[in-house]
């Protein structure tokens, strides 16, 4: 078995790389695939928190590399889903404790026994990024519709284009706020794609549910009713090659808004 190694990266911090990794990983595992999540943010690990696994970590990726344990021993199984496991980052070390070849070796070993290896990349374009990208053959670039995040994403896309091993780079637009797009105060999905010019794999709406799900250490994909959870499940399906339409976030919710929208459409036709 040769699984796919997908790096989840962004350049800018705080746009939702780790949340995305946790949710896509969980969704893929729920769909019956064997998934390993690797946290490569050495010294600033958080993926364990989002999965609620922080108390179960015994060994980290640095322990594996420095041969204090076997790779299998360091994999922490998810509480709910036995298909999902986590290789945690070391909290007491920095990015220099690992190099690109070592990470590539780990990815190569893990892909032999898993369908998916998702690599959660640290922010920045230095060593940590180079490490995370080393073993990957696909990339998902996470950005938000803000100038600074898009600029950094553009930089990352440029860097990924120089990596021969990475055959596909896709965009995940996070924290989209339809009401702001409607009032022309936020760049729309089309605006962002027009600028970055890479294929879209998902649009995730801003959802306050993310905060509570993080508090509980439970990815939002497990919440059947949450819109962001649905959006992440759709991303997982697209990764699996299914064609899933993007969520229509523009749909107005109130009765008056619906009437108004109907008339606005009518006016355009006339």
């Amino acid at each position: 078995m040769t699984g796919r190694v997908i790096v989840i990266t962004s350049g800018k911090g705080g746009v939702g790389k780790t949340t995305t990794s946790a949710n896509i990983g969980t969704a893929l595992a729920k769909a019956g695939h064997k998934v390993v999540l690797i946290d490569t943010d050495l010294g600033l690990r958080n993926l364990d928190l989002l999965l609620g696994l922080e108390n179960r970590i015994v060994y980290t990726i640095v322990d594996v590399i420095e041969e204090r344990c076997k790779l299998k021993q360091a994999l922490v199984k998810d509480k709910k889903n036995p298909n999902l496991s986590l290789l945690a980052a070391a909290q007491t070390r920095d990015k220099t404790a690992v190099n690109a070849e070592q990470l590539k070796e780990i990815c190569d070993t893990l892909r032999e026994e898993n369908d998916f290896v998702l690599v959660d990349c640290p922010a920045g374009i230095e060593q940590g990024f180079q490490n995370a990208v080393a073993g990957a053959n696909e990339a998902i670039v996470v950005t938000t519709p803000e100038m600074s995040a898009i600029r950094d994403a553009d930089r990352i896309i440029g860097l990924l284009a120089t990596k021969e091993e990475i055959s596909s780079t896709k965009l995940l637009l996070n924290r989209v706020r339809p009401s702001l797009i409607k009032s022309n105060e936020m760049m729309s999905v089309d605006d962002v794609i027009g600028i970055l010019e890479i294929p879209l794999i998902g649009i995730i709406p801003e959802d306050t549910g993310i905060i509570t799900s993080t508090n509980k250490g439970e990815p939002i994909v497990n919440d059947e009713n949450a819109l962001a959870g649905k959006a992440y499940r759709n991303v997982a399906q697209r990764i699996l090659g299914e064609e899933v339409p993007f969520l229509d976030l523009d749909e107005p919710k109130g009765f008056m808004a619906k009437i108004k929208n109907a008339f606005a459409k009518l006016k355009v036709k006339v």
């Binding site: 930089r155 105060e185 605006d191």
Partner: protein
């Protein structure tokens, strides 16, 4: 009648989509971002871009009479390639004699400037001595020059976004199909060159 029209306006306003309220912050963001990404991707600073622009004007005005103010210089991404879009309103074509005269003038200028360089190098010292009355302190002069330079850069920085704004007005696609057809007296030429991104 007045009552009816004001009522109609109120109703119409209610049903109008909210999108048309002037320049919203998102288009400001989009334009700023496009400019900054163009610089990031090409390593061309506003200063270098301005120099490129003026050199292009110099070159092209030997052959045609241009509207220098309306010249647009832009980068557009198409897939893996970056295209340099240059849109120049042509006021009129020059005739053969004028072109030759311009070329001759250019040649003369070239040989002259070579000579000038040597001259200024040789009597640079004496010149600064002659002007010493005007210069109170050499440092203040330097500072002045630096301040001027900074002003120039700031001005260029302001100028560049307007280039992009004008782009929208001039509909380059149409011009590309029909390069010598303009709606006023000025004609437009579209130059396009592509480079690997």
């Amino acid at each position: 009648m007045g009552l009816f029209s004001s009522l109609y306006n109120k109703v119409a306003k209610f049903f109008r989509p909210q999108e048309d309220d002037g320049e919203a912050s998102k288009s400001v963001a989009t334009n700023r971002l496009k400019l900054v990404l163009m610089q990031d991707r090409t390593n061309l600073t506003p200063r270098i871009l301005e120099q490129m622009r003026s050199e292009l004007i110099d070159l092209l005005s030997r052959y045609v009479e241009l509207d220098k103010e309306l010249l647009e210089l832009n980068f557009e991404q198409e897939g893996d390639q970056v295209a340099l879009m240059l849109s120049i309103p042509v006021i009129r074509a020059k005739d053969e004699e004028e072109i030759e005269a311009a070329l001759k003038a250019r040649e003369e200028q070239n040989s002259k400037s070579e000579g000038n360089n040597e001259e200024t190098e040789s009597d640079g010292d004496s010149e600064s001595n002659e002007d010493s009355d005007e210069i109170i302190d050499e440092r203040t002069e330097e500072e002045k020059a630096e301040a001027e330079k900074a002003d120039a850069i700031a001005k260029e920085l302001q100028d560049v976004p307007t280039i992009i704004k004008k782009k929208k007005v001039s509909q380059p696609e149409e011009m590309g199909n029909n390069p010598f057809k303009g709606d006023d007296n000025s004609e437009k030429v579209e130059l396009e060159s592509t480079t690997e991104a």
